[in-house]
């Protein structure tokens, strides 16, 4: 659907050039909700804008439906953009136009009749759930309502791709969830491919299927969201994810722990098995649970547990062997006094 081939974007600066995006290649499939994560300045926004040519490329190709779009101009460019909706962090609605006028603009500019425009605007206002706000000016709307208007504006032209540029970063947690749910619903209902860029991994965890991680203009990791969160390979990704999930052990716990400290990571269905009590029953070892947490990513559980086994050395060793066999991911962090 969307394919980046060796995309580089340089910005000329007073002293030399800045490589905002450097040699990035990957593919986004039709119907996916694809996330691009990274901190600010990572080049995500620049990369996203090469899809609808709000940003030109220095080298490389962007293929949309197999067609290189980096060179299209004029009427073809406008047609290309009509197939791609975009929403923004600060909504970017025209303040002096009503909600209705903001959305109708797209169709009027495309030469649609007044009647057809009216029917479509009513329909899309309903789809995003703000029918009663048609004649209100944006200043009277909440952030979430503004983003709903922006989504209607982005999709009313019949777009098959929706680009989200930090679309929930200015919203509170509750509104973020409702906007993400709306995007997910519309993506399924209208068969739209969604590309989300964000520095909030919660967003990616919430609705994306696959995700790319960018750092310093380069693509550092790409994969399924569950894999990325549970088995990050790149050190930058690990840092980003550790920070978001809070899987790191608080330093006080580490300092005060006596004896063995063991980290257990449960994936998928294993997260629901009572392995700890099994080990207690079988080997007579007590487990002191220090930190425990279960996350759901793509509706699959990911559990992390820090335990301190207490018992005879031999029994503890056998208990750990059992855990290694059942859980697979067992990490002995600290050897202390036993």
């Amino acid at each position: 659907m969307i394919e980046f081939q060796n995309i580089s974007v340089d910005f000329k600066q007073k002293k030399g050039t800045l490589a905002a995006v450097h040699d990035v290649s990957f593919r986004i499939e039709a119907g996916e909700i694809f996330g691009i994560a990274g901190s600010s300045g990572a080049g995500k926004s620049t990369l996203l804008r090469t899809i609808n040519l709000l940003q030109g490329v220095t080298s490389g190709q962007v293929l949309v439906d197999g067609k290189n779009v980096t060179k299209v101009r004029g009427k073809q460019l406008r047609e290309h953009r009509r197939n791609i909706g975009m929403i923004f962090q600060h909504f970017n609605l025209a303040d002096n136009l009503t909600v209705y006028q903001n959305i109708a603009f797209v169709l009027r500019a495309a030469g649609k009749s007044r009647q057809e425009t009216d029917e479509m605007v009513r329909k899309y206002l309903g789809l995003v759930g703000i029918s009663e706000k048609a004649d209100v000016y944006p200043s009277k709307l909440s952030g979430g309502q503004k983003q709903r208007v922006a989504i209607a504006r982005a999709l009313i032209g019949g777009a098959k791709i929706l680009l989200c540029d930090e679309a929930t970063s200015a919203l509170d947690a509750e509104t973020t969830v409702s906007i993400l749910n709306l995007i997910q619903t519309l993506s399924k209902k209208l068969g739209i491919t969604v590309v989300i860029i964000t520095h909030e991994l919660e967003v990616i965890k919430g609705i994306c299927n696959r995700c790319a991680v960018m750092d310093g203009g380069k693509l550092v990791e790409i994969g399924g969201v569950y894999d990325l969160f549970t088995k990050p390979k790149n050190s930058y990704t690990k840092q980003l994810i550790g920070y978001t999930l809070g899987h790191d052990l608080p330093p006080e716990v580490l300092k005060n722990a006596e004896g063995l400290l063991v980290k257990l990571t449960f994936r998928g269905s294993k997260a629901n098995t009572p392995v700890i009590s099994d080990a207690t029953v079988r080997f007579g070892v007590q487990f002191n649970i220090l930190v425990g947490r279960i996350e759901y990513i793509e509706e699959k559980p990911l559990g992390v547990l820090y335990v301190n086994p207490v018992g005879e050395t031999d029994a503890v060793r056998r208990a750990l062997d059992y855990l290694k066999e059942v859980v697979k991911e067992v990490e002995v962090i600290e050897h202390g006094r036993i």
Partner: protein, 219 residues
């Protein structure tokens, strides 16, 4: 003081001032507005960025704006003669007045357009709308409250300029004030003229402020 009816003279002078300022203001808004749009469009990445056109237009505007209005009045006498076939009276003064106010308003209009949130323009362009659609349906409504404020500023300075035009026989309230109030020592006429100008400026400013407030939907 035979033959001088103050009321009649005031009405005539007021009409002349209104004509001079009105016609020049219209020229400033249409032509100056278009030049302001050109300045904005040639400086914006989202439209047709073109340094050469932008800087050439900028230099021409600066030249016009750096000439004191009194000098411009004299300098443009041949042009007035060629266009309106007269070098005296309100009709002749309309030419230098228009040119000065076109340059004045072009700069202000450029500022009004540049103050429109670039993100809104970017969002409109991303929908696949043509640049003209974006200009007329998004940029203009968004810039309108600020444009109206700047039209008011232009109108007020035009009233001032048109009074100055009185010194070269341009007619209008300023002309009346100078000929009767100053040259014939009729202080009362001078005072009435000044009060009239004050009222006119206050009225224009008031209308402008109200209109700008009504058009602005941001608050």
């Amino acid at each position: 003081m035979a033959g001088f009816d103050l009321k009649e003279a005031l009405v005539k002078a007021f009409k002349e001032t209104a004509l001079m300022s009105g016609v020049s203001l219209l020229a400033a808004v249409i032509i100056g507005g278009a030049i302001g749009l050109l300045l904005y469009a040639t400086s914006s990445r989202l439209f047709v960025r073109n340094r050469i056109v932008n800087q050439t237009a900028g230099v021409i505007i600066n030249i016009v704006r750096s000439i004191p209005f009194l000098i411009l009045l004299v300098l443009l006498i041949p042009l007035s003669k060629a266009i309106v076939h007269t070098t005296i009276g309100p009709t002749a003064v309309v030419i230098p007045l228009s040119i000065a106010s076109i340059a004045f308003f072009a700069r202000l209009a450029d500022v009004s357009f540049s103050d429109v949130n670039q993100g809104v323009i970017e969002a409109a362009i991303s929908t696949g709308a043509s640049k003209w659609s974006v200009i007329f349906q998004i940029l203009l409504p968004e810039a309108l409250p600020s444009l109206v404020k700047n039209i008011t500023v232009t109108a007020v300075s035009l009233i001032g300029f048109s009074a100055m035009a009185g010194t070269v026989g341009g007619g209008g309230i300023g002309d009346l004030a100078i000929r009767y109030g100053y040259q014939r020592y009729q202080t009362d006429v001078m005072l009435i003229c000044v009060v009239l100008l004050i009222l006119l400026v206050q009225g224009v400013q008031l209308i402008g402020d109200i209109a700008a407030k009504l058009l602005d939907k941001k608050q």
